[in-house]
Symmetry: C2
Subunit: 246 residues, 2 copies
C-alpha cells in the first residue's frame, strides 16, 4: 500500500458511491481503505465522517477491517454545504496545475466549470491523461473529501474558444453577472457579491486582447485584482474568497 | 540549461541584487538568464521589467546577450507596491507545500512571517533543506518576480511553540488585531479589514486545543472561514484576499 495517498490532502470525509451503499452498509477498498489504516489508523468500532456522492453527510462505524477491505455501517443525516452561486470558465491550466486547481474548485464549492482553450494554452495540455473523465473525477473527489462536501462539480471541456464563446457562453451566462479577471482592467473585482456570477479566468499570461473582446461581446466585464499578478492556482482561491467570503 | 526553470511560475519582473548593479548596469546569469533566453526568447535591444531587491521597479534594456550572460542597462523609476499590513504566524507546513506557500506569501505582499512549531507539525519538517536561509530566499524571490514586487519578506523560524507564544508573540502582535483561523470558532473571519493584523494559521489538522488556548492568552481571537475545511495552501490566499481585497 501507500501508492495512492496524497499526504498533502486530508480526507476529512470518506466519500462513497451510491452503488456501493446497500441497506446502510458499505465496503471500502483501495485508496480510502489505505487512508483509514495508514493515516487515520482506525480500527473496528471506530467512527468516521462519511458522505454519499451528491447526497447527505453522516457517520460510518467500522464493523470489520483488514488489509483488503473494511465494512462500515453508515447513517447519513446532514445536508451537504451550499454550493457557490458561480460558474467558472477557466482557460485550461498546465497539467501539473490542473490537478491542484480541480481539487481547489471542488473544495471551495464551485459546481460548474468549463475548461476552455485560449491562445496561450499550449496545445499539448489537451493531450493530458488528467483530462479523462475518471481522472478529473478523482481530483474532484479529493477536493470534496478535504472540504467535507458531497456534490460533484460538472467539468466541461471546450477545445474551441470562438464557437464556445459565441454560441454557447451566452446561455451559460444567462442572467448572472459575468466578469473576467484581467490585470489591465480599470474596474476592481466585486467583494462579497450576493448575485450569481459567471467568472472567466485566463491562462498564465492572460487572455489575449481578441479573447477579452470576444468575452466582452458575450457580456463579460473585465475586473482586476490589484497590481500584483497572481498565478492561476492562487487567483482561483483569491477570486472565490473575495466574491463569496464564507 | 533548463534545470532552473519552474514553468509554473512566471517571471513578470527580473529581480536584481543591489551588489550586481553598478552605474545602472547589471549582468544576468543562471536561472534568470535561462528564463530570458528559453522562455521569454529575448534578444539584444529588447526591454524587460526589472526591479532591485528592496528597491524600485523599472525597465532594463539588453545591451549584450549570449549563453553565459546578459548585460542590461536599467532605469528604476517606480515604487514597489504597498505591502499588506499583516504579520503571519504559520505552523511549519510540509516541505513540498512550504515551497509554494513561501512563493504565495511573497507574491501576495506579506512581509513578515514566523514559521512556528505546533503539535501537528512533524519533527522531520524542521530538517528540510528548504529551511536554509538561501533556499527560503529563493522561493520568496520567485514569488516577488511573479507578482512584480521587490521587497523581500522576513521569515523567522521558531522551533519551540510555548516560549515563542508566551515570550515573543505579545510584542509581535503589539497593537494589531490578532486572529487565528480555527474551524471550530463561532466568529466569522473579518472581511476587508482596514487595520493591521497578526494572523495565525495552524498546520493541516489545525492547532490543538492547548495551542488555541495559548494563542487566546496572547490575544488571538479564533475566527472561522465557513464549514469547508481548506488545505493550508488554499487557506493562505483565501484569508489574505478576504482580509485585504486588493
Amino acid at each position: 500500500m501507500s501508492l495512492y495517498i496524497d499526504y498533502n490532502w486530508a480526507m476529512n470525509l470518506l466519500l462513497l458511491r451510491s452503488e456501493n451503499i446497500q441497506n446502510n452498509i458499505t465496503t471500502i477498498v483501495g485508496r480510502q481503505l489505505e487512508h483509514i489504516i495508514e493515516v487515520q489508523r482506525l480500527n473496528k468500532g471506530d467512527t468516521i465522517r462519511v458522505g454519499e456522492i451528491n447526497g447527505a453527510i453522516g457517520l460510518g462505524k467500522i464493523t470489520s477491517i483488514d488489509d483488503n477491505s473494511a465494512t462500515l455501517e453508515i447513517e447519513l443525516t446532514t445536508k451537504a454545504p451550499r454550493p457557490l452561486p458561480l460558474t467558472m470558465i477557466l482557460a485550461l491550466p498546465r497539467p501539473k496545475m490542473l490537478r491542484r486547481i480541480l481539487q481547489t474548485i471542488a473544495a471551495m464549492g464551485v459546481k460548474t466549470v468549463y475548461l476552455i482553450n485560449s491562445s496561450r494554452v499550449e496545445k499539448s495540455f489537451w493531450q493530458s491523461p488528467l483530462l479523462a473523465p475518471k481522472a478529473i473525477e478523482q481530483q474532484l473527489i479529493l477536493g470534496l473529501e478535504q472540504s467535507i462536501d458531497t456534490c460533484l462539480p460538472k467539468v466541461h471541456l471546450r477545445k474551441l474558444f470562438k464557437p464556445f464563446v459565441e454560441d454557447e457562453l451566452p446561455s451559460v451566462v444567462g442572467s448572472s453577472i459575468a466578469i473576467v479577471a484581467h490585470p489591465d482592467s480599470e474596474q476592481r473585482c466585486p467583494i462579497d457579491c450576493k448575485a450569481t456570477t459567471t467568472l472567466a479566468i485566463g491562462p498564465e499570461g492572460g487572455f489575449i486582447p481578441f479573447e477579452v473582446e470576444k468575452l466582452a461581446q458575450a457580456g463579460f466585464a473585465p475586473v482586476h485584482l490589484g497590481t500584483r499578478i497572481l498565478r492561476v492556482e492562487n487567483a482561483v482561491p483569491v477570486l472565490l474568497s473575495r466574491l463569496y467570503p464564507a
